[in-house]
Amino acid sequence: MIVFGQSDSGNTNNFVFISLSPENPGPNENATASVSYSQGNIDSVNTTWYINGKQTLTGIGKRDITFKTGNAGESTTIRVDLETNTYGLLSKEITILPNTLEVLWEADTYTPPFYKGKALPSSQSSVKVVSLPHFVSGSTIIDPDNIVYVWKKGYFKNQNASGFGKTIYAYKTGYTFNDDEITVSAATQDGSVSITKIVPIHVYEPKIIFFENKPLQGIRYENSLSNTFNYIESEATIHAVPFFFSLSDLNKNNADFTWMVDGKKLETDPDNKTEFTLRKPDKGKGQYRLRLDINNIGYDLQTASKELTLSYDNQ
């Protein structure tokens, strides 16, 4: 958002100042303009507000006015007149031109098909930050490729990622689970429009969630298996979802999936690492403990474990 310098017609008008809330209103956003008067009590002054030249509010002590900004690139002019006893009519005008810079990011980590939630970054995962500028010059939308971007991670500018039309910035998160602070400054070539945004990106721990994979129904993503699974059929297929691991493909990857039953390691099908079908014992009643450890080779802190008790009763 650009607020052009506050204009006035004489030095005495420097006694009047307009402030905005929010300070940088975006397009089509409600904002409040407030007037302050350094030489007296504003509450006793007759005040008249104009929005885009149209008188909108008048009265004694009318210090605030609420208005809605226009579309991106559409200017809104706010003028206020104060009828003071000492200095006569004082006037102040500001022009608001909402340009915007939105910044979105996504992580290259695993979530299951149809998952409506966001993939979260984990240790050493790839993240892509995308800038969405909406800059307008006159009535022309400026092509994002004609905008200059400066990208920083923390305090450090990334020279290669910065420049004309460099709308995206890709990086790998660190080992630790701290925030990465990404800064992008976008400016027109002539510098007439310039906006800076800072985006904190947190690093999360990956995790395993178990689901039942039913032969005809498919994987029951709607309900996870939490602590205990009770056999109803003679066998059950347990499907593990490795949430937020850096895995481009569920089965074709370098991650080590170790399945165990009561501490005994099971042989894993390399083409189907994420599932195990377990048959219910023919007789008796009891339970056993299924455990899965995932260690993503090449990603030191991308590890997770999950246990599930499978309970059966033939009596």
Binding site: W105, K128, A170, I209
Partner: protein
């Protein structure tokens, strides 16, 4: 009066009383369980016990709610206001009116078979017998003349979207085992992440992504059911978009949500290619636009819960709605004013919406109604008053005449209906 006369009078009174009791018993037997069931369709239209009129049930909102539970008699048949339509998992549903009657049509997850149920007498008909197993979601469009079956190939994450032509099925006619009823169809692009039917149901807007991660782009496309063609209209270097509304000229695109990450909702105008932010910088943002797209019901994540709000695009105003639920558990009425919502009772402490999406948390819901003009919400029904099964409602739709509210119980994907005409207490 002699003793003999007294005994005769008492005897007559006892016989008359016994006659009354017997008649009442026979009449009550006639009124229960007379629905027409066809073989191999539904196991239980009447899963509940005798209803109790005007039950009073406390809710988590510290209010006393009177649910006007009534027995509805239609002709000689008797139906509760809350009805379980299927026990088998349902992938998608669609409702229509025919000759003044409300029907619900649905796809079975395990077979891909399509059924219709006439709500007036709960008669059920299997319309198709073409086998598609493991259907994750079925999206009806084109006034019920098409359905998109979405499923994942075995041992892969690859999503297939197949459009079935339903125009040739005979509604009301039972499909036989020997005559496949759905021979024609068309595969859409692979890896369609999400899709939304247009408000007139003639088209869908869908998102695909392509390329390796750093160069990945999301493409938004429109599929026209009648022309049977797709065209690309949207390109973005950011790929985590969910279309939440599509009116044919603009799509509302929401970023995928997580409790700790700010989310955004944009309007994408197809003719101009213009993207305009509607709301944003809201952690855990999930949204449900009104039918006219002018109001947005949205939730925001808090520490351990969610808050619900209503944003009005006309004046950029926001109202706080005094219930805790996710917009995915709500449906707007056509008047753009009333909203029915399934509200967890109570909302378990957790990370939302992540925990619900991941299947970690399941809810037990009551049905509430919101007035978008005032922002007030009232409880209209407590399912526990009629069933012992906890219901976590999702995929809510209203029948065209808004006399029934249909939903899927996320716990087992069973299909249910709530009779609004008789069950909604104003």
């Amino acid at each position: 009066m002699t003793k003999k006369q007294l005994y005769i009078i008492i005897g007559v009174i006892v016989i008359i009383a016994l006659g009354f009791l017997l008649a009442s018993f026979l009449i009550s037997r006639q009124n229960i369980g007379t629905a027409t069931e066809k073989p191999n369709t539904f196991a239980n239209f009447f899963p509940f016990g005798q209803n109790t009129p005007n039950q009073t049930t406390p809710t988590n909102q510290n209010q006393t709610v009177t649910t006007n539970v009534v027995n509805v008699t239609e002709g000689e048949k008797f139906f509760p206001i809350l009805r379980q339509i299927t026990e088998k998992p349902t992938a998608g549903l669609f409702s229509y009116n025919k000759s003044g009657n409300t029907y619900v049509e649905y796809t079975e997850k395990e077979t891909g078979n399509i059924y219709e149920v006439k709500m007036e007498d709960m008669s059920a008909t299997r319309l198709s017998n073409s086998l598609i197993t493991r259907v994750h979601e079925a999206i009806f469009g084109n006034d019920g003349k098409s359905v998109i079956m979405r499923y994942v190939k075995t041992n892969s994450d690859s999503i297939t979207s197949f459009v079935l032509d339903l125009s040739r099925i005979n509604r009301g006619v039972e499909a036989t085992t020997t005559t496949p009823t759905l021979p024609t169809g068309k595969f859409l692009a692979s890896e369609i992440l999400d899709m939304k039917t247009s408000s007139d149901a003639k088209k869908i807007f869908y998102i695909t992504k392509s390329g390796d991660f750093n160069n990945r782009t999301a493409v938004g496309s429109i599929f026209d059911f009648q022309k049977n063609t797709s065209s690309d209209v949207f390109l973005s270097q950011f790929s985590e978009w969910l279309p939440v509304s599509f009116d044919g000229s603009a799509a509302l695109l929401q970023t995928k949500a997580s409790q700790k990450v700010p989310g955004y909702l944009y309007s994408f105008t197809i003719k101009t290619g213009n993207m305009q932010k509607i709301i944003g910088d809201i952690k855990g943002l999930t949204t449900l636009p009104s039918p006219d797209n002018q109001k947005i019901l949205y939730s925001a994540s808090t520490l351990g819960g969610v808050t619900l709000h209503l944003y009005n695009r006309k004046d950029s105003s926001t109202k706080d709605i005094p219930i805790q639920t996710l917009p995915e558990k709500c449906v707007w009425k056509k008047d753009n004013i009333s909203i029915y919502c399934a509200v967890p009772n109570p909302l378990p402490s957790g990370e939302y919406p992540d925990g619900w999406y991941q299947g970690i948390t399941s809810f037990e819901d009551n049905i509430w109604k919101i007035d978008a003009t005032t922002g007030k919400a009232i409880s209209i029904f407590v399912p526990r008053s009629l069933t012992n099964s906890p219901i976590d409602m999702t995929s809510m739709i209203l029948s065209p005449s808004e006399d029934f509210l249909f939903f899927i119980n996320k716990r087992d994907s069973s299909l249910w209906a709530f009779d609004l005409l008789n069950g909604e207490s104003e």
